[in-house]
Amino acid sequence: MTWGLFLTQVLNGLQLGVLLFLLAAGLTLVFGIMNFVNLAHGSLYMMGAYFGAAAFAATGSFIAAGAIAVVGTLVLGFAIERVALMRLYSRDHLDQVLATFGLILVFNEVVRYLWGPSSIYMNAPEALSGQVTLFGLNYPSYRFAIIAAGLTVAAGLYLLINKTRLGMLIRAGASNAEMVSALGVDIKFLNTMVFAMGAGLAGLAGLMAGPILSVQPGMGEPVLILTLVVIVTGGIGSIRGAFYGALIVGLVDTVGRAFLPILLQMTIERSIAQAAGPAIASMLIYLLMAVVLALRPQGLFPVRHG
């Protein structure tokens, strides 16, 4: 276990963390403001990856692919919100879970129909195909770019939410949506805006994940479940919680998978450790979430009222 290996794993964890944050930000706001469980958020991520991969293959420009992926998912998010999901805001969570579960099936099959059942590959852009050197350590520059882009978006979101009028309305909506609408704000428009923005961020995450993961039908579900863990751990409705939660989950998952089996081998018998290590490592974040919820049901960084 060398220092360089550890640092690489931390960076990988950070990279997973920022991707999760892009997804969690939109999802947690939709939870917080509309009180809506959107399981189809992972499908928007998948659509972003497909839009990006298709556009990159057609144009050869990663910037164009990015624009198409983000705008495409934004429009898609807008459309599904207006056509179906808007009617479900006042329904109970069970209905929301079911309807968005149905949407996942629909999106997976649409993708399977349009792009085929097997995964498609997408290369990183030429300029980012090399490596960067950090503290004497070589790290793929594309992964590093993901971390940088994710942190930039996080900073932008922070400014948007804390310094602008729209952000003020979003914050107000998250703490008391009824009061905001009573004060004369067009809450319907605000809802659609937030939903579409969240969809766009999910699309961005999908695009960025495209070159490092395989783009395939159903790729949104594992990520969605991680995102749910993030927002529940961080505190539902809280952007701050989504950010710290994403980093915690990303780091715990990646570093745990890499080092827990080794750590176990040093403490308990080798054969047991080899069997139990990967199992415990893959369950680690769920254990973390269960412990957090048992001790602090509102999450680690809940929305501050007042």
């Binding site: 969570h93 069970l94 879970v97 997976n108 069997a275 199992a279 893959s282 919820l293």
Partner: protein, 326 residues
């Protein structure tokens, strides 16, 4: 009092009679395929009836009941793997493991509610899923093939028809059990907790204990469904615990009619038959479209689920059962 004219009386009667006669029909027509199809339907109906006990009557939206199906299946699979073929041991182990997991997990989850409850049950089911995937000695990702069905003495599970009737008998027993519980004081406390937990607490009921007991009972019946599933497919796979299976169980409940005892049985018939029909739909009117339907049937299931949620919330059985009562 049983009202003999009500749909609540005759729909279950007709459906269960149909189930009982199905193998006879299959035998006469030589279509043994029906027995396997309806075995699967019965297994899903059993699991959905169990989930509906906490979901429809207790208001606990568990998005992780597939976990218990998986546990039941792996109890059979792992014991068979080690050469234990006695079915009663399998059954006992499945119920014991299911009950144990449900007690520990339930003790954590029933303290939460609403959205958190949905998420945390999902998380526990995922934990089980990853646990199964990482059990390399038991097949890991690929699952575990079971050499022979459980040996249950005179009841020969090796015969598909016998297995079918065993599942049917278990389903009827489960329906009877839940009917009794829901008519008893326990059931009334559970339903009261669903409609207003604070009031029940103020009345002095320890609602947590009631919810936990209901959760454990429901989970154990689900484990039973898993026990039958493993016997039916001769296979235990992590995919039984996949979150989409939990979703499917909820779809079955809502499709049939949430909060009605018999609704999930109707829901299981409708959903699984629909899946089967879509996959083999060939009326020959416009073949290219039919091919798309056969291949991408999940698309239509998805649309169907969305439409049911938006416009037909009472479910198939719920619709008839309530229409007659008015």
């Amino acid at each position: 009092m049983v009202d003999f004219r009500s749909a609540r009386f005759w729909i279950p009667l007709v459906v269960l009679a149909g189930f009982a006669l199905l193998p006879v029909y299959a035998g006469l027509t030589g279509q043994s395929f029906y027995v396997t199809l309806f075995s699967r339907i019965l297994i899903y109906a059993l699991a959905a009836v169990a989930l509906n006990f906490v979901l429809g009557f207790g208001g606990l939206v568990s998005f992780g009941h597939a976990l218990y199906m998986g546990l039941g299946a792996y109890a059979v699979g792992i014991l068979s793997f080690h050469g234990v073929t006695n079915g009663w041991v399998h059954l006992g182990a499945a119920l014991l493991i299911g009950g144990l997991f449900a007690t520990v997990i339930g003790a954590v989850v029933v303290r939460t509610g609403g959205m958190t409850f949905i998420m945390i049950t999902l998380a526990f089911a995922q934990m089980g899923y990853f646990l199964a995937v990482s059990l390399k000695q038991y097949g890991g990702d690929d699952g575990l093939t079971i050499d022979a069905r459980s040996l249950m003495g005179v009841v020969d599970f090796g015969n598909n028809t016998v297995l079918y009737y065993a599942i049917l008998a278990t389903l009827i027993a489960a329906l009877w059990l839940f009917n009794r519980i829901l008519g008893a004081r326990f059931g009334f406390v559970l339903k009261g907790t669903k409609s207003n937990e604070r009031r029940m607490l103020a009345l002095g009921f320890p609602t947590l204990r009631y919810k936990l007991s209901a959760y454990v009972i429901s989970a154990m019946v689900c484990t039973l469904a898993g026990f039958f599933l493993a016997n039916f497919t001769k296979f235990a796979s992590p995919s039984y615990m996949q979150w989409s299976v939990s979703g499917e169980l909820i779809v079955i409940i809502v499709l049939g009619g949430m909060g009605t005892l018999f609704g999930p049985v109707v829901g299981a018939i409708v959903l699984l038959l629909l899946e089967e029909i879509l996959q083999g739909w060939k009326p020959g009117i416009y073949p290219p479209f039919e091919e798309i339907v056969n291949k991408h049937w999940q698309l239509f299931i998805g649309l169907f689920v969305i439409l049911v949620v938006l416009y037909a919330k009472r479910g198939v059985y719920g619709y008839f059962a309530e229409a007659r009562r008015e």
